[in-house]
Amino acid sequence: MALIMGLIVVVAILIYVFEMLRRQKLREKYAVLWIIVGIGTLILSIFPQLLDQASSLVGIQIPANLLFIMTLILLVGVCLHLSHEQSQAEDEVRILAEEVAILRSDLQDLRALRPPESRDAAQHPVANGRPVADK
């Protein structure tokens, strides 16, 4: 019974990941991780004896403990990865903000440079003296 419950949960998570991928709500680099985790769990829930064998191999008496250790390590890994991505994203946002601020001041300078009467002339590219894209 517990086995079937586990199976259902894992399969549901895998389907959810694939659906997000399909709809482009999830970037590949994150998806790869979750698919690996999902398939690993799937294998373990189908063949629970694998866990027993692995734990006796590493010398852990209670197989469940091995599961907990693995889960913990994995979660710490995921957290680290996300922190890294988050820092990178923050960096990029900061750079964008800087660019926008500089662009805004440049734009203000440009506006100030232009005499008022040419401002409405800008609506008509020809009058503005710029090349017109003609067909």
């Binding site: 694939f18 991928l21 399909r22 709809r23 482009q24 970037r27 590949e28 680099k29 998806a31 790869v32 960096d91 990029e92 750079i95 964008l96 800087e98 660019e99 800008a122 609506q123 590219p125 710029r130 090349p131 017109v132 894209a133 003609d134 067909k135």
Partner: protein, 248 residues
């Protein structure tokens, strides 16, 4: 003139050459000038992707319009920017050309001509022309990719990772809607989704030249990784929903 908006006045021709460039100061000037000299009537847009050298300045000097991205986004991210630019400026066809000079500007015209009976035209290296060669895992990966994408597209494709590709208005709209920035996603994924969304693809044989300078991007270890990643990219591409580009 279809678009009376102010920005379209930067457009002088109907065709836009998009050139993603990252640290290509050594060659970018020559490449841009060659495109103007040997290519068809066109505007050139160089997307400088956070280069640490003066790629942007040299490209501007050579007569290209330059977009500078504030940080590196990869070829896919750069091309997205280019397609958006093309769409908002009303270009009717675009072609991607490598900044390192590997794509012969004399072939631009024939690849663009491929758009007469297709929405996407790929300049392909192995189609019995030229001497460009790859070996090892990268070659096998390319073989598998070419085979599967040929089946999906319903036409023989021999070089699906080629960056030398042209797109018409329909394909530009499709790309703006879906063009992944991931590694290999830009070539494989974008193609699969474009085909699924009803774009017609054909390939045009071209010759490929040696890099004209600068650093080649692929070392042997990367080449081995390439195999796995391209398989993954294909897998992801196959899961995608077909997309319906916005009509505006």
């Amino acid at each position: 003139m279809t678009q009376p908006s102010d920005i379209s006045s930067a457009r002088k021709h109907e065709t836009l050459v998009i050139m993603p460039a990252w640290n290509e100061a050594e060659v970018i000037g020559t490449t841009v000038r060659e495109v103007f000299e040997y290519g068809p009537e066109c505007d050139v847009l160089v997307i400088d992707d956070g280069s640490r050298d003066n790629t942007a300045a040299l490209a501007g000097e050579a007569g290209a319009r330059v977009l500078r991205l504030p940080f590196n986004m990869g070829v896919g991210g750069a091309m997205r920017t280019g397609f958006k630019y093309a769409k908002s400026h009303g270009y009717t066809q675009v072609i991607q050309v490598d900044a390192d000079g590997q794509h012969d500007p004399r072939d631009i015209k024939s690849v663009l001509d491929g758009l007469r009976d297709a929405d996407i035209a790929i300049g392909a290296r192995f189609a019995d022309k030229g001497t460009y060669e790859v070996r090892g895992p990268r070659k096998w990966a390319m073989g598998v990719l070419a085979w599967s994408l040929s089946r999906i597209a319903g036409t023989r494709l021999t070089d699906v990772t080629s960056g030398f590709r042209a797109a018409n208005e329909k394909a530009i709209r499709q790309y703006v809607d879906h063009y992944p920035a991931e590694y290999l996603g830009d070539t494989i994924d974008s193609l699969v989704v474009a085909v699924r969304s009803g774009c017609k693809v054909r390939q045009v044989p071209v010759s490929m030249r040696e890099r004209q300078g600068g650093q080649p991007s692929h070392d042997p270890i990367k080449a081995a990784l390439y195999l796995g990643r391209s398989g993954l990219a294909l897998l992801f591409a196959l899961t995608r929903k077909r997309s319906t580009p916005s009509t505006n």
